[in-house]
């Protein structure tokens, strides 16, 4: 294959750290896990036909390490997780009593967020918004949207019911949407 050069490695590493940090919340731990995944991969490059299959393979190693970490962390986390059972009303304020949007809280058009994704600052805000969510909520959301696990897989890993999972994912998306709306898209306009 084309040799995977130093520059390729730098950019691969940067992508991996972003991926891991979204999942873990802890940037130092994210660096460590990425380092481990890279260490496991280096030296095995020759076995790959091309750069892209090598990249996919390294990312897969990282993903599996993250799943293991989440499984361990979850069982410590869950003990202290009232957010899970409670029927929170944190989004009540967005709606009128009949359940329709308050005019001032109505979701706005975000235009084309594809453009934002190249902006480094956008990712900082996104990480902040994610970190503002309750811990268990954020972890379930990132297992779904960052690791890309199906709801059934998350249920199995964490031993929760699908309907629990749907409720938590809904809260996470409500929270993230609102936070991005306030901290990023509103500023833009």
């Amino acid at each position: 294959m084309d040799r995977f050069g130093a520059e390729d490695l730098v950019s691969l590493r940067r992508e991996m750290v972003r991926f891991a940090a979204l999942q873990l919340k802890d940037p130092v731990l994210a660096e460590d896990v990425v380092q481990e995944a890279l260490a496991a991969a280096v030296g095995a490059q020759e076995r790959f036909q091309g750069r892209s299959s090598f990249r996919t393979w390294v990312f897969t190693i990282l993903k599996n390490k993250l799943i293991d970490l989440m499984r361990d962390r979850w069982h410590q986390l869950r003990v202290a997780t009232p957010e899970f059972e409670s029927d929170e009303d944190e989004f009540d304020a967005l709606f009128r009593t009949n359940g329709h949007w308050n005019p001032e809280d109505r979701p706005a058009n975000w235009g084309e967020p594809e453009k934002q994704m190249e902006n480094q600052e956008f990712w900082v805000i996104l990480q902040t918004c994610l970190d503002n969510l309750p811990e268990a909520t954020a972890r379930i959301f990132t297992m779904r949207e960052v690791l890309g696990l199906e709801v059934e897989e998350i249920c199995k890993e964490l031993r929760i019911t699908p309907s629990n999972c749907w409720v938590v994912l809904h809260r996470a998306r409500m929270g993230l949407r609102l936070c991005l709306q306030k901290k990023w898209f509103q500023e833009e306009k």
Binding site: H100, L126, H170, R173, M174, L180
Partner: protein, 65 residues
């Protein structure tokens, strides 16, 4: 008319499970009349897109509609 609040739940769950026929019809009908929820629906798709782009090479493998 169904409440927007209820509809946000369906629009989120749509990303996690297939909706039933009646849920889909109810949602489509609601979206025709409600600009706030149309924007919410787009925001949801965009959120997914944003996180998908953070998956690097795994994004192509795992791309879901």
């Amino acid at each position: 008319m169904n409440s927007c609040r209820k509809m946000t739940e369906l629009m989120s769950q749509q990303l996690d499970r297939p909706l039933s026929v009646s849920e889909r019809i109810g949602l489509r009908f609601h979206l025709m009349m409600c600009r706030g929820c149309r924007n919410f629906s787009r925001n949801m798709a965009q959120l997914r897109q944003i996180f998908l782009s953070a998956r690097g090479p795994l994004a192509d493998e795992q791309a879901r509609e």
